[in-house]
Symmetry: C2
Subunit: 112 residues, 2 copies
C-alpha cells in the first residue's frame, strides 16, 4: 500500500476541497473556460486559476489555450489507485470488525 | 454531489498524507499505542499525536486511554461517501470519453 505515495498525496489533496470537487462535477457536464468557472463559483479569476492549477497538477483536468481563452476538460486521471486504496482500507476495517465479532462470540460462549 | 462537503473535505484531507495512510495500514494489522506508531514511523511522539488527531477527527481511527497508554483502533468511518464520489467522477470521465469518441466517429463518417 505504500507505492505511488506521491500521486495519492496529490490526488487526495486535490479532492479535499469542495470547490475543486465542484469544478470537476461542472466539467463532467462539459468543458469550460476558467472565466466560466470563476463566474459559476462566484470567485475571482486569480482564485479560480489556483484551483485549476492544483487540479491540473493532479491530472484531474487538462487545459488548452484556444485564442485568448483557456479551456478546461475533465481527466485524464482515472483515480484507479485512489479507488484501490479506499477499497483496501474498507477491507481492513471489515476484517477488524469480523475479528472483534468472533472475539465477542467466543467470550459469550466461554461465559455460558 | 455537493452534500456532506465538510465530511469529504476532512476525509480526503486526512488521506492526503502518506504517513497517515501508513498509520491506517498499520492499524489494519492490529491496534497500536501512539508510542508504538511513533516508533514504527520513526517520528516524535508529538508529530505522531498530530497525525492521530487528524485521523481521529476524520473518524478513521478511535483512541482509548488504557492506564497511561492511548491505544488506536481502525474505524469507524467506512469511506462510503468518498467511494461514491470517486465512482461518480469516474462515471463522468467515461461519459466524456464516450461523447468524444462518438464525435470523432461522426467526423470520420462525414469526411469519408
Amino acid at each position: 500500500m505504500v507505492q505511488h505515495s506521491a500521486g495519492l498525496d496529490i490526488a487526495f489533496g486535490a479532492l479535499s476541497d469542495r470547490t475543486r470537487r465542484g469544478i470537476l462535477a461542472r466539467l463532467g457536464r462539459g468543458d469550460a473556460s476558467i472565466s466560466d468557472l470563476a463566474a459559476n463559483f462566484e470567485m475571482t479569476l486569480t482564485g479560480m486559476k489556483k484551483h485549476v492549477e492544483i487540479l491540473e497538477g493532479a491530472g484531474l483536468l487538462t487545459t488548452k489555450k484556444i485564442g485568448r481563452v483557456r479551456r478546461c476538460r475533465l481527466g485524464p486521471r482515472r483515480l484507479e489507485e485512489e479507488t484501490a486504496w479506499i477499497a483496501k482500507y474498507r477491507q481492513m476495517l471489515e476484517a477488524r470488525f469480523d475479528r472483534l465479532g468472533e472475539f465477542l462470540e467466543h467470550s459469550k460462549g466461554a461465559r455460558s
